[in-house]
């Protein structure tokens, strides 16, 4: 049976300690969860493939009427700039360029009705913050990333592999500070923060001795350290907590760097054929690393197409051309990842999610009934190829994919209108439900929360959002 804490029990037992918690959670190890785990988990790990920058649904997984480019075309007639192509599912089409993913849709769920929050004048990183933490920024405390929640509740699947690994995002980009703001474990404590691998080809650097240091040298350094610790005068001062905490984490780091599992970070060890299939660039190689890590027992991995203002999926111009390129980057590796996980048997216990902070449209900025300040100039008559594409930020209908780990297969959830504004008309689903669906599959209680500065902070705001039965194979039992 699950352990249930009431606010009172909790306050009584922990009030003094918890009240001191600031954002840095100096005592995060003392936090005690209210909620606990449920016994009906269908997954134990997660791969989140994030299409950062706003992936237009009508150009990817939810194509509408195709209008080829002609000089002098009316902007308001254009819904999709690519042909639709069939998928393995009857009557379901994807946009041209996603044929491979189309052929694995019998293994997962296609969501066509994700509705992003209304946060006013669009800022990508605010929506990304919201997607990854489920809270709208700013908040009065630093709220944890979904990966940190999962790390905190479930811990590492294998001790030596960090439980939350983030692949592909550099922070030395525009809005880098805003990106940092949600790549954080917040009040859950830095132990649960992301292990950052900005470049998958250099992943191994993060888990091996410093460049230029041989294994032998690394070992003798550690031996010297252990001898000197024994002799150090702190022994006699016996600084209990700090000393033990430091020693323990140093030992853990040493174990990781010496472990055979660390090889999972080395994608160059992959057979050439497999490497080449994945190698569509940084994102593809990130997928390859994610596969290797899951096979070795990673808990939560996110691979991002990388957010950089006006780059990648952030198509403020040349949308058609750029999206063609983006699809080339994602089609093969995502498909191969699913196939490989299925082959290794890991797909059964791994949820793979493909998502973006919001969608795009040629005309609507924000939501059709709640438009916000335009950021992109779109001419009524298009004469230049650079204006041919979805350049405005659209929040009322976005596509997502989910595979494995108890997610329904061959399933289509939700629907958008076939005419502009192509907004969600069936089964709208919001971020809190998405998160709760993931938590449900992982067996994390929907009301999991911690008392921070005397207020309960839940995995989703006030514990809102209900796991979506339409995405889950197993019947949801009330808990």
């Amino acid at each position: 049976m699950e352990k249930y804490w009431t606010r009172r029990d909790f306050l009584k037992k922990n009030a003094a300690a918890i009240a001191t918690m600031g954002m840095a959670a100096p005592l995060s190890s003392l936090l005690q969860s209210c909620g606990g785990l449920t016994s009906n988990a269908t997954a134990d790990s997660v791969i989140l493939l994030f299409m950062a920058g706003g992936m237009a649904h009508t150009e990817t997984f939810d194509p509408k009427r195709y209008t080829p480019f002609t000089t002098g075309m009316q902007a308001n007639t254009v819904l999709s700039t690519f042909k639709p192509v069939p998928t393995i599912l009857d009557g379901i089409q994807f946009s041209e360029g996603l044929e491979k993913i189309g052929q694995i849709m019998d293994k997962g769920s296609l969501i066509r009705s994700y509705v992003a929050a209304d946060l006013g004048h669009i800022l990508h990183t605010r929506h990304q913050y919201h997607w990854h933490t489920c809270y709208e920024p700013p908040q009065s405390v630093t709220v944890p990333h979904i990966g940190s929640w999962i790390s905190k509740e479930l811990g590492p699947l294998k001790e030596v592999i960090p439980s939350f690994i983030n692949i592909g995002q550099r922070f030395e980009v525009g809005e880098g500070e805003e990106l940092k703001a949600f790549h954080s474990a917040g009040f859950l404590g830095s132990e649960h923060g992301p292990f950052l691998i900005p470049d998958p080809t250099k992943g191994l650097d993060s888990v091996r001795p410093p460049t230029g240091m041989t294994t032998k040298r690394f070992e003798s350094r550690n031996q010297l350290y252990e001898k000197l610790i024994k002799e150090s005068e702190m022994g006699e001062f016996g600084s209990g907590y700090q000393k033990e905490s430091l020693k323990r984490s140093m030992e853990q780091a040493y174990r990781l760097l010496n472990s055979p599992e660390a090889k999972a970070f080395d994608i160059s060890q992959e057979p050439k054929e497999s490497y080449d299939t994945y190698n569509t660039g940084k994102f593809g190689l990130g997928c390859l690393m994610a596969k290797r890590l899951v096979n070795e027992g990673a808990r939560f991995i996110t691979v991002t197409s990388e957010y950089e203002p006006f780059m990648n999926w952030d198509t403020h111009d040349n949308g058609h051309t750029r999206i063609k390129e983006m699809k080339e980057r994602i089609d093969a590796p995502i498909t191969q990842l699913i196939k490989d996980l299925e082959e290794s048997g890991k797909l059964e216990s791994t949820i793979v999610i493909v998502a973006s902070e919001f969608s795009r449209d040629m005309l609507t900025e924000g939501r059709p009934d709640l438009k916000v300040k335009d950021q992109v100039n779109v001419p009524d008559i298009i004469t230049d190829m650079k204006n041919y594409g979805m350049h405005r930020h659209f929040t009322d209908g976005c596509s997502m994919l989910m595979f494995g780990g108890g997610i329904r297969a061959g399933n289509v959830f939700g629907k958008t209108a076939d005419e502009r504004p192509c907004k969600t008309i069936e089964n709208p689903i919001k971020i809190a439900s998405i998160h709760q669906t993931i938590y449900h599959a992982l067996g994390i209680h929907p009301e999991t929360n911690y008392e921070i500065e005397k207020r309960p902070f839940y995995t989703t705001p006030d514990g809102k959002g209900i796991a979506e039965q339409g995405l889950l194979k197993a019947q949801i039992k009330s808990v």
Binding site: R8, A19, M23, T142, S190, P210, E231, M234, Y241, S249
Partner: protein
């Protein structure tokens, strides 16, 4: 087997058909009456001989009763499936019901076909009668709660009126009612307000005010004081989760202890004292300053007199003072954030002046720039000021770098310091301006509310965060108080939003304590801010000065006099000491350096450090003060120590705020680009420097894997140590010298014989750069290096 039948049945029927559902809901009707005939048949059987024609009546009852039992079982399965009942109770009801149906079928068969098998018939009839009671009981429990029957039994009454576990009520005095009602209010607020309060009134029921709670909703009163089992609210919250009338209908159901509390409260007569809102059950500190007379004693420093007084009362013994080396290291780190050099330690040890400890504290405090470069870390955290961060990109945030650096440099009196933060110039406006992201934000996070929260937390040791969304459940602060305070920072009065829903109401404009003066709501924002500053900095605001002296104490001693530095309503381990130091601080011109001097020249500051195994104990209110707690170096102290001892971690070009160019800082001697003045980076973050999106008032005390990885193979540290090794190799040709110098500079002492031997063996005669680098690494990873003890 039974569930298999249900499953088979459910698979063959169209889910959601209203007819099926309707039929299912007939189940109670078919159960409640005719099945009881079976029981009656059993009773009749007992009196068979006295009643004429009983046999026929019994047979008739058996046939009707059994038939309906079988029919009811079928409908029951439909109901369970269609209305999604589930749980243990249902299983009991289901299994006993199906069993009863089987027995009934047997009974009918025997009655009709085997009139001679009297014994079998009697047995089956007995079984059916008993089965009726059992099944009926589980069914009732399902709809009325599992204590429906037992709770009215007289011997249950003791338990009825005993306190549920987990309820914090002490002696039976009148305060109990208040405490109890507040617990009930808290449960209502967190579970029911969403649908039953000011903003939404499902079923015309509101649970947020006394009169509404007792008025009930459209279905009538919901509470029968003194009788929980007759109270509608109790019935609703104890129904099975999936029951149509179960409450809360949305979201989580109440936890068992919560249900227990409500039951206890109703049975106790549902007390709801009228003045509940006015009387506090929460700890509440005095606002006014207090100057207790110093206790008698031989100590010279008043702090020691108070500590001695406390030690006497609690039977705690003074420990010995630390040696000169440990004292100097502690003092250096606490005032200027750097370790002393070995040379400085030697000179200090040789000094025979009995006042040398005071002298060195004085000397360090007079190093204005070094002092500023250390303490700016503490203030940047508290004022959530940083060189980079969210908001700057859209001009929604302003730094206070220059104002803060120069304020520390000139040791600005704290009252003036606060005045300039609250009623700011262009240079100091960053604190109350908050962080404005692009787009719309939650009402409780508008910049005016951020200002109210941050001023409350940082300057007043007050948590307004709860109250900025709804009336606080953990203090007496109300939503209106938070808005009235936030209005001071607003151009126009703010519309009150409760849990993010606008209420159409507006608060007045006021300070949190009327005794500190009033704010003229009709005046300009500039004028209101001036009134705010005047109101808060006056000496009568003892709370503000207790807050700052407690923070400084915590920085030096590892724990505040009140452990929770942001919650100044909690209990200090010595109220006298806290009050006295705060008054002394005001009397001495709000001088932060004098405060540091006072504390650091005390005997207690110079006593041996205390280790602890469990940080949870340290922050408990029951904590006993025994002296300074060992502390971890901050990210900045650690980085600067490496810079000073081994090789600079940062260069002048890394300055995010350059005090040489902008604040007249003229470095002398060994120059170090201090980590406090560079942008945050992966190295410092791993070591615990926060990203200052929100106020931070304490740094992590624990290490983490991510931090250890940064130590173990992080590029920044590795490169620094490598460059240092190259330099040291050139400087020291002999291993022996190098080993000794490293220990001397890093730890302020010579290596022990054993340490020397171990290292000497690892390094050999002619160590390589790599070997030296690894030795450095091993030394700075020592807890002895990373701890102030």
């Amino acid at each position: 087997m039974i569930s298999y039948i249900c499953l088979a049945a459910s698979n063959s029927l169209p889910v959601g058909s209203w007819m099926v559902q309707f039929a299912g809901r007939l189940h109670p009707l078919f159960v409640h009456f005719p099945v009881s005939l079976l029981f009656l048949a059993g009773v009749l059987k007992l009196f068979e001989k006295r009643i004429k024609g009983a046999e026929q009546i019994i047979n008739f009852l058996i046939i009707i009763g059994s038939g309906s039992a079988i029919f009811a079982a079928g409908l029951g399965i439909l109901l369970a499936w269609q209305d999604s009942y589930s749980g243990e109770l249902l299983d009991y009801h289901r299994y006993s019901g199906v069993l009863l149906a089987v027995v009934s079928a047997g009974l009918v068969y025997v009655t009709l076909k085997k009139p001679d098998a009297t014994k079998t018939k009697n047995l089956l009839l007995a079984l059916a009668s008993v089965g009726t009671i059992i099944t009926g009981h589980w069914g009732a429990a399902l709809t009325h709660g599992d204590t429906y029957l037992t709770e009215v039994l007289p011997w249950q009454n003791d338990q009825e009126n005993s306190l549920p576990a987990g309820i914090a009520v002490g002696n039976p005095d009148e305060d109990d009612d208040v405490k109890l009602a507040i617990q009930v209010r808290t449960i209502f607020a967190h579970n029911c307000y969403k649908c039953h309060s000011e903003t939404k009134q499902k079923g015309k029921l509101k649970l947020d005010e006394k009169e509404f709670i007792f008025a009930g909703g459209e279905g009538g009163e919901i509470i029968v004081p003194g009788n929980a089992s007759e109270s509608e609210i109790y019935r609703r919250i104890t129904l099975p989760v999936n029951h149509k009338e179960s409450m809360p209908s949305k979201g989580k159901s109440l936890a068992k202890p919560e249900i227990e509390i409500i039951k206890y409260w109703i049975n106790k007569g549902a007390p709801w004292p009228n003045d509940m809102g006015k009387r506090s059950v929460f700890p509440k500190a005095e606002l006014a300053p207090r100057n207790p007379p110093l206790p008698q004693g031989t100590h010279k420093n008043p702090i020691d007199l108070w500590v001695n007084d406390y030690f006497d009362k609690n039977n705690i013994a003074w420990k010995g003072k630390v040696n000169d080396r440990t004292f100097l290291r502690r003092t250096y780190f606490d005032i200027i954030g750097l370790p002393p050099s070995f040379e400085e330690i030697k000179v200090f040890e040789r000094d025979t002046n009995p006042a040398k400890r005071k002298k060195v504290i004085d000397r360090l405090l007079s190093q204005n720039n070094e002092y500023a470069q250390h303490w700016i870390t503490f203030w940047n955290d508290a004022l959530r000021n940083d060189y980079t961060g969210t908001g700057y990109i859209t001009k929604g945030r302003f730094n206070v770098n220059h104002w803060l650096y120069t304020s520390l440099q000139e040791n600005k009196p704290y009252n003036q310091f606060v005045r300039e933060l609250l009623n700011p110039t262009e240079e100091s406006k960053g604190f109350i301006s908050g962080i404005q992201w692009r787009g719309t934000v939650n009402a409780s996070q508008r910049t005016e509310m951020q200002a109210a929260q941050n001023v409350g937390q940082v300057l007043l040791g007050l948590n307004l965060k709860c109250a900025s969304c709804h009336d606080s459940f953990v203090s007496d602060w109300k939503l209106e108080d938070a808005y009235a305070f936030a209005n001071i920072f607003a151009e126009e009065s703010l519309e009150i939003a409760r849990c993010e829903k606008p209420t159409g109401k507006y608060a007045n404009t006021s300070l949190l304590w009327p005794s500190l003066g009033s704010i003229d709501s009709t005046s300009s924002k500039k004028e209101r801010l001036r009134q705010l500053a005047d109101g808060l900095v006056q000496p009568a605001n003892g709370r503000m000065y207790r807050t700052i002296v407690n923070r400084i104490w915590a920085q030096l001693m590892g724990r505040g006099i009140i452990g929770t530095v942001d919650e100044m309503d909690n209990k200090p381990w010595s109220q006298d000491l806290l009050d006295w130091v705060a008054v002394n601080f005001v009397d001495n011109g709000y001088d932060l350096k004098k405060l540091l001097f006072l504390i650091m020249t005390s005997d207690i500051y110079q006593m041996e450090g205390n280790a602890y195994d469990d940080p949870a104990v340290v922050f408990k209110e029951s904590y006993q003060f025994k002296g300074m707690l060992n502390r971890r170096l901050t990210a900045e102290q650690l980085s600067d120590a490496v810079s000073k001892v081994i090789y600079p971690v940062f260069n002048k070009s890394d300055y995010a705020y350059d005090p040489i160019v902008t604040a007249g800082y003229e470095p002398t001697g060994q120059f170090i680009t201090r980590a406090s003045l560079v942008e945050n980076n992966a190295f410092l973050t791993a070591l615990g420097r926060p990203n200052r999106e929100v106020v931070t008032t304490s740094r992590p005390v624990e290490s983490s894997l991510l931090q250890a990885l940064e130590f173990t193979n992080g590029v920044k540290l590795n490169n620094t140590l490598e460059a240092g090794a190259e330099r040291w190799k050139r400087k020291y040709t002999s291993s022996n010298k190098l080993i000794n110098r490293t220990y001397q500079e890093a730890l302020g002492r010579n290596p022990t014989k054993k340490e020397f031997t171990v290292t000497r063996k690892a390094l050999g005669d002619k160590p390589t750069i790599g070997q030296i680098q690894d030795f450095f690494w091993a030394v700075i990873m020592l807890p002895e290096f990373q701890t102030i003890y």
